[in-house]
Symmetry: C2
Subunit: 234 residues, 2 copies
Amino acid sequence: MSGASLHQRITADLGGEIRSGAWPPGHRIPFEHELMARYGCARATVNKAVHALAVQGLVERRRKAGTFVAAPHITSAVLQIPDIRAEIESRGQRYAWARLAWRIRPARPGGDEAPLDPAGDLLQVKGLHIAGARPFALEERLINLAAVPKAADCEFKHVAPGAWLLAHVAWTEARHEISAINPDPETAAALSHARACLVLKRWTWRQQAGITFARQVFAAETIELTARFTPGGP
Amino acid sequence: MSGASLHQRITADLGGEIRSGAWPPGHRIPFEHELMARYGCARATVNKAVHALAVQGLVERRRKAGTFVAAPHITSAVLQIPDIRAEIESRGQRYAWARLAWRIRPARPGGDEAPLDPAGDLLQVKGLHIAGARPFALEERLINLAAVPKAADCEFKHVAPGAWLLAHVAWTEARHEISAINPDPETAAALSHARACLVLKRWTWRQQAGITFARQVFAAETIELTARFTPGGP
DNA sequence: TAGTGGTCTAGACCACAGC
DNA sequence: CTGTGGTCTAGACCACTAG
């Protein structure tokens, strides 16, 4: 860490005290002027260092009172939902996409598309994500053509809708649902998997405009998550 | 926003251009010296503002080249794993905990406890989280008594292990796995639910010391998640 | 090599919350 | 009222890298 900048070193030092438990929640960490003396630097530098800890959620700062070690949150964790292709390739398997169906149809009230509040036509694509030679996930995708008219020009024969959208449209908000189902016979046949399956549903918006809905049925794969102390986020 | 500080206003201004789509991914935002002129302030101020955008993941900065609007990540979302009791009560239902089993047993190699790397005895608790009159989740809990000896004094008859641990032990790291199963007959009977179930496994550590493992089988409830544009996290 | 961002300084004034 | 953190300035030098 000697190559890092001074404020990064200070942040790491103080963060280490907190994560090690030497400074428990509620403990007042040194004042900025004390840290100035300890590190022999300007106040702006220690301020930047301690401010970074506050952004990370490790400390809370109060004028006149000082800076205190924060209590860890339990309610939030960082969920890794990798791109399916990246997930498969990171396992060293070959990725393939097989399109099963493609059509344009008018939006209907109700159903999974309702949260997108689509106005005109939807592009509906169905296909299979394949890892090596085995089915990995079955995907049903709806794309709001009013928001993404260019999508109608893509047949999604060789590129999955998620990959195409990622390259062409930015999203600002998403909602996810994870659930468990017993697959219907058609799904079970497509996945070669008849037991319980994980289902991930994802709705994506850009500025209140519904972009796309995806429903991915996994072959009972497990989704793994890691959470660290106060991972933060607003 | 006129009450906010200048660097916050600059951050909000630039962030607005990006989120609105006026500046698409890949677009080069104004140089720092241009922003200095535009806002009539020192470089340190615009640097702080643009740096905040970089921390949020909205932009990427490259020396000599400039600052560019980043492509949104899809890979991370904030997962809300509320306390089960809080979840049930937030739905307006009465919460209850029913202990089914309690015992102390030596740690065994392998199995779900392995990641905790327990040294001595484990406290094993099994029970049911109940919403109103219906089973909500079946929980199997292991507590590492070497790390939390006080837990042996609690019978967990009227308080669930998660609630007790939350009040008595701080954690620094956790790992989660979500999967789907078809319940075995015993589990199906306890949950009054024979179809596919969601399973959440959670391992919790404090400084490399394994604290507890929990396996919660839900009655096919759905876990919901919300993600915003580049919610960040390291 | 020139220009960008990364870092740092030695000040300053202010808002706010404890005392 | 005092002391803390919040903010800002007008410089400076440096590291990296695109051209």
